[in-house]
Each structure stands twice: as structure tokens, then as C-alpha cells.
């Protein structure tokens, strides 16, 4: 028996079974492209532009009278490179963040469901009749959520940005601005190389917790995952009137932002932009919280393996 060969097949199985893992990000990418293709072209006096739905960036170019249009175009002509770069960076980041929010949501529900689904449809009796261990099965699920899906979304986002720039270029063809900036695109990918693993490590304990709930719950995994914490929040609030639980949860979800700190405006297009961003991420990598959480996450994943051993609803 070859464990890595088994893992590959088990991951393939996850991709077959939980299609929302890759379909939902692709749908979101499609929506972004369609909005870009058919949405309005907006701009403001600072030379910013936005292709897509109105988001307060100013009136739709198509709705203007010829004189106003002339004036708007003049204003839009980039006054300097850094404003344009900031606009492009903002748009690229916005699109990438949207994709990663979708990833977070599908992975959350995937982890909650995956070890329950195989018991719900009783297919666990089929999987258990094959020479794959509980460790391999649970590991394949953790890898699907924490490696396969994030890598897929990272690559999809990179391609999406290129497609977005291509579509937006069509819409902006008559205008003296370009939505494509290879340097910024490349910088963003370099940042992702450090950022995606950081997020995976940071959210490892939450992923492990969700797997434990998934393997343990007989149904209503979502409620089992959420209600105990809601109850703890309430009880703490009523009895001691402190907010330790809330702080703990806040830390587990967004503590990396606190570690990075507030004063984090970085001009990544500047000479040392990338180095600065990596410096900020280095603070998170260097903090014990991320590693403590990762160890707890691995322990929880191991617990899920042990629980699956004799978990049986029939």
C-alpha cells in the first residue's frame, strides 16, 4: 500500500463529492467577469475609475452629456503614475479578497459536512471496506480544505485578474487608463505565496475544530459548531460580565491583523513594497500564536482520526 497514492485518490474523491469547493469560486469568478463586461464605467475627479456596478466612485460615463464627458475624461487622465497604480492595486486586491472570502465560506461548510456526510449516506461502510486508514481519510479531507482548495483559488484568482484586465480593457478602450499592470499583478502573486500559507496556518485550529464537530455530530453540525460558543458567550456575559470568550474567538479569527498592527499602509509599488509586506507577515509568522494554534489544529485533526475509528450511526 502506498500512502501518497491513497491520499491522491482520496483527495480526488473529495473533489468528486464536494463539488461546491471548486464550483462556487468559479461561479464567483464568472460573476465578476460578467459584471465587468456589462456594468457601468465609473470615475471620479481624482482620476480613479471602476468598471462594474456603481460603488460611489462617481457617475456612469455613459450617462453624461458630451461636454461633461469631455471634462470627465480630462480629469481622468492620470495625473501621476502612483494614483493609477493605487487604483489598479485596489481593484486587484478587492477581486482577490472576494475570491478568498468565497473560499473561506465553502471550506468552512465543507469541513463541517465532510465527515458527517459519509455517515449520513452510510457510504462510510463502503469506504471502510477498502484498505484506506482513518488517518488517510481525515488527512485527505484536511489537505483538500487547507491545501488543494486554497491553491486552486490562488491560481484561479491570478487567472481571473488577467481575464478581468482583458475585459475591462475593452470597456475602457477609449479612455486614457489601463486596468492591466503586470508589475502589480506579479507583486500580488508574490505576496500570496506568503499570505496564503499564513492564513492556512492561522485557521488550522478552526479547521481541526470543524472536523471534530463533523465526525462527532450525528446531524446539525452547524449548530453543534456554533451553539456551544454562543452559549459560552452568553453565560460569561451574564455571570462575570467579562468578554474573554469573545476575545478568544476574535483572536482565533482575526488575531493576525492585531499582530500586524494598525499602522500598515504599504505602497507595494514602491521600491521596498514587497519586502515591507513580507516584513509585516513575518511578524505573524514570528508570533507564537500562529504556531500554538497550528499545534492545536493538528491535535484536533488527530482527534478526528481517532473518533472516526469507531464512529458509526447504524
Amino acid at each position: 500500500m502506498n500512502p501518497s497514492r491513497n491520499l491522491l485518490w482520496l483527495i480526488r474523491r473529495e473533489v468528486w463529492e464536494h463539488r461546491s469547493l471548486w464550483i462556487a469560486p468559479m461561479v464567483m469568478a464568472g460573476v465578476i467577469l460578467i459584471v465587468t463586461l456589462f456594468g457601468g464605467v465609473h470615475f471620479n475627479d481624482h482620476g480613479s475609475f471602476w468598471v462594474g456596478t456603481s460603488d460611489g466612485n462617481g457617475p456612469d460615463l455613459r450617462a453624461l452629456s458630451p461636454e461633461d464627458r469631455e471634462r470627465a475624461l480630462e480629469a481622468m487622465t492620470p495625473k501621476n503614475k502612483s494614483i493609477m497604480d493605487a487604483v489598479v492595486l485596489g481593484v486587484y486586491s478587492g477581486i482577490s479578497i472576494t475570491m478568498f472570502v468565497v473560499l473561506g465560506i465553502v471550506v468552512f461548510f465543507y469541513l463541517l459536512d465532510t465527515l458527517l456526510a459519509e455517515r449520513r449516506d452510510r457510504s462510510i461502510l463502503f469506504w471502510k471496506s477498502l484498505p484506506v486508514s482513518d488517518g488517510e481519510v481525515v488527512t485527505s479531507k484536511a489537505l483538500t480544505a487547507l491545501v488543494v482548495a486554497p491553491v486552486f483559488v490562488t491560481l484561479l484568482s491570478a487567472v481571473l485578474l488577467i481575464l478581468f484586465a482583458a475585459v475591462a480593457s475593452l470597456r475602457l478602450a477609449q479612455l486614457p487608463v489601463s486596468p492591466w499592470n503586470a508589475g502589480i499583478w506579479f507583486d500580488l502573486q508574490v505576496i500570496m505565496l506568503g499570505f496564503v500559507p499564513m492564513m492556512v496556518l492561522w485557521y488550522l485550529p478552526i479547521a481541526g475544530y470543524l472536523l471534530v464537530v463533523s465526525v462527532w455530530a450525528r446531524k446539525n453540525a452547524f449548530l453543534w459548531a456554533v451553539l456551544p460558543w454562543a452559549a459560552l458567550l452568553l453565560i460569561e456575559g451574564m455571570i462575570t460580565q467579562t468578554t474573554n470568550v469573545a476575545q478568544f474567538l476574535g483572536n482565533r479569527f482575526a488575531g493576525f491583523a492585531r499582530i500586524i498592527g494598525d499602522n500598515t499602509h504599504v505602497d507595494i509599488d514602491s521600491e521596498h513594497g514587497i519586502a515591507t509586506v513580507y516584513g509585516l507577515m513575518g511578524r505573524v509568522y514570528g508570533d507564537y500564536h500562529i504556531w500554538l494554534g497550528a499545534i492545536a489544529g493538528l491535535a484536533l485533526i488527530y482527534a478526528a482520526v481517532r473518533i472516526r475509528r469507531y464512529r458509526d450511526d447504524s
Binding site: L10, E17, L125, L130, S133
Partner: protein, 294 residues
């Protein structure tokens, strides 16, 4: 002969209820063993213990391995169908074949595909599009293409119609069984499998009520329909079961002299189904004599 399954004092507790109470069991290689018992008798618990799907007390070795601690090793040599309709409904037939081929070193893809070619199952179908009978055929095609030393079937034909049940067991015998393989099958439809079994084990209230090779049943057990006037003499020989139909009694005897019984009326070898019914509901409050005999 090596024991494929060997249990001593196998017990299983479910929060106070004893599902299995100290079962001793030995299954040799190359046998087809029927584990037969009413619902709740402990069949499934014994099966689950053998397959390492549940914890248990006592000693149990399957292929010389402990199912509790050596399950991963065990599953290379053992396969099972725990029930029909446990194939994941979202999987495509061809993907299911690919998957088993991918993870099971003992899987013979050609054998599986030959089997499937004889059915109406389309490779591009998803399991959810197949009828219940077809799902069973697919499951069978997958499992029977695995070169395993022990095959365990737990109520494999539950909910299937007669035609599928019949062809299921035909396939099992013709395509799968040989002297190196051992099959353990549970069912409560005794009459359908009694012709293929080499051994029969009755289990009742978590205990073994009978464990015997099929060929010894005819020697041990006699079914007697006493001739008129011989009724009391027959009863004096202590049948462990008796029932009256249309005013005529039928009795079952364990370990009595055949010649003596033949003198009293019509005798014949009871079917496994007859024995099963008799042992599961002993009349006259008599405990089944076979317990001590076995």
C-alpha cells in the same frame, strides 16, 4: 488448516445491554459460513467486531490479526458488503471503479469490467441514477473483483427482489468462491442460502445456539412425523421441538438413534430453516438441547 476467524469469549456491550455474550467461534479457510439469527440476536455486532468497525471484549483474531489494532493491515485481505445501498450516491460508475483500482492492490479491474459488461449499468451513470438492484450489482462487481481471503456479507440482499437475490448468490458461487477464500454471510432469509453454505452458525440472544458443518446436520437432527399411535412413544424420546399441523405432529430430535425414530413414523432431514425456527422458539419451555450438544 488455518483458522480464518477465531474468537474466544467475544462480547459486546452497548451501554448496559449485552449484544454479544461470550461467543466462541472458529471459521476455517475455504468455508461458506452462514451466521443466522433473528433481528437483534447479535449478528451485526459479531460482524462489526470481525471487521474492526466496533470495539469489543474478549479475544478475536481474523487472519491472525487483531481487528482493533491491526485493521489497516486486515482490510487488504478482507472485504465486505455491510448492506446494500451504501455506495455513495454521487459517484460515477467509472469513478468508483477507478477509485477502488487506485486504492486496492488486490483489485482486478478487468474482472470488474467484465462483470459490469454483463449488466445494464452504464459507466457514465451516477449511482443515484441506478436502480437498487443495479447498485447491488455494481457493489458486487467492485467487491468480487478484489482478491481477498475473507469476504463478509451482512444482509447483502436486503430489500432486493427474488430475481436479484437468486443471481446474487449464483454470482457469488460461480465467480468468486474457491478453496482459498472464505465467506461469512448473515441473513434472516435462511432458505435462500442454505444450499450454498458449508457451515451454519445460529446466534440467539448474543450466544451461539448451534455451530455445525452442514454435512453433520443430517446425522444429528431428525425430523419425525410419528405414525398414529406412536405419539407418546415419540415424545418420550424428548424432541426439542414439536408442532401440530392439521392434527399431525412434527418433532425435531437432536442426536437420537435414527433407526429407533424411523420405527415410529416418517423421518427426514430437517431443512436449515426448520431447524432455525425450532431453535429460536423452543416449545414446552424446553431449552434447546443442542446448546449443550454444541
Amino acid at each position: 488448516m488455518t483458522a480464518i476467524i477465531e474468537a474466544r469469549g467475544l462480547s459486546k456491550n452497548y451501554g448496559g445491554t449485552q449484544a454479544v455474550r461470550g461467543v466462541d467461534l472458529k471459521v476455517e479457510a475455504g468455508r461458506i459460513v452462514g451466521l443466522i439469527g433473528p433481528n437483534g440476536a447479535g449478528k451485526t455486532s459479531v460482524i462489526k467486531a470481525i471487521l474492526g468497525l466496533t470495539s469489543f471484549d474478549g479475544d478475536l483474531k481474523v487472519l491472525g490479526l487483531d481487528p482493533r489494532t491491526e485493521r489497516n493491515q486486515l482490510m487488504k485481505e478482507v472485504c465486505f458488503i455491510a448492506d446494500v445501498a451504501v455506495l455513495p450516491r454521487w459517484i460515477k460508475v467509472s469513478d468508483a471503479v477507478d477509485f477502488v483500482a487506485g486504492v486496492h492492490p488486490g483489485f482486478d479491474r478487468k474482472r470488474c469490467e467484465d462483470f459490469l459488461a454483463r449488466t445494464d449499468i452504464k459507466k457514465e451513470s451516477k449511482v443515484r441514477q441506478l436502480s437498487k438492484g443495479m447498485i447491488t450489482q455494481l457493489h458486487l462487481a467492485l467487491i468480487l473483483a478484489i482478491d481477498a481471503r475473507l469476504l463478509v456479507l451482512d444482509e447483502p440482499t436486503l430489500g432486493l427482489d427474488l430475481l436479484f437475490r437468486r443471481s446474487f448468490y449464483d454470482n457469488l458461487l460461480n465467480d468468486y468462491f474457491n478453496k482459498e477464500r472464505t465467506i461469512l454471510v448473515t441473513t434472516h432469509q435462511v432458505e435462500e442460502i442454505e444450499n450454498i453454505l458449508t457451515d451454519v452458525i445460529f446466534i440467539e440472544h448474543g450466544r451461539i445456539a448451534l455451530d455445525a458443518p452442514m454435512e453433520t446436520l443430517a446425522e444429528r437432527f431428525v425430523q419425525l412425523t410419528p405414525a398414529a399411535g406412536n405419539l407418546e412413544r415419540a415424545r418420550a424420546l424428548k424432541p426439542f421441538w414439536e408442532r401440530e399441523i392439521f392434527g399431525r405432529s412434527t418433532m425435531l430430535f437432536d442426536g437420537r438413534d435414527h433407526v429407533q425414530l424411523e420405527a415410529l413414523g416418517e423421518t427426514r432431514a430437517p431443512s436449515v430453516a426448520d431447524l432455525f425456527v425450532a431453535m429460536m422458539q423452543p416449545v414446552n419451555g424446553a431449552p434447546s438441547a443442542t446448546k449443550e450438544a454444541a
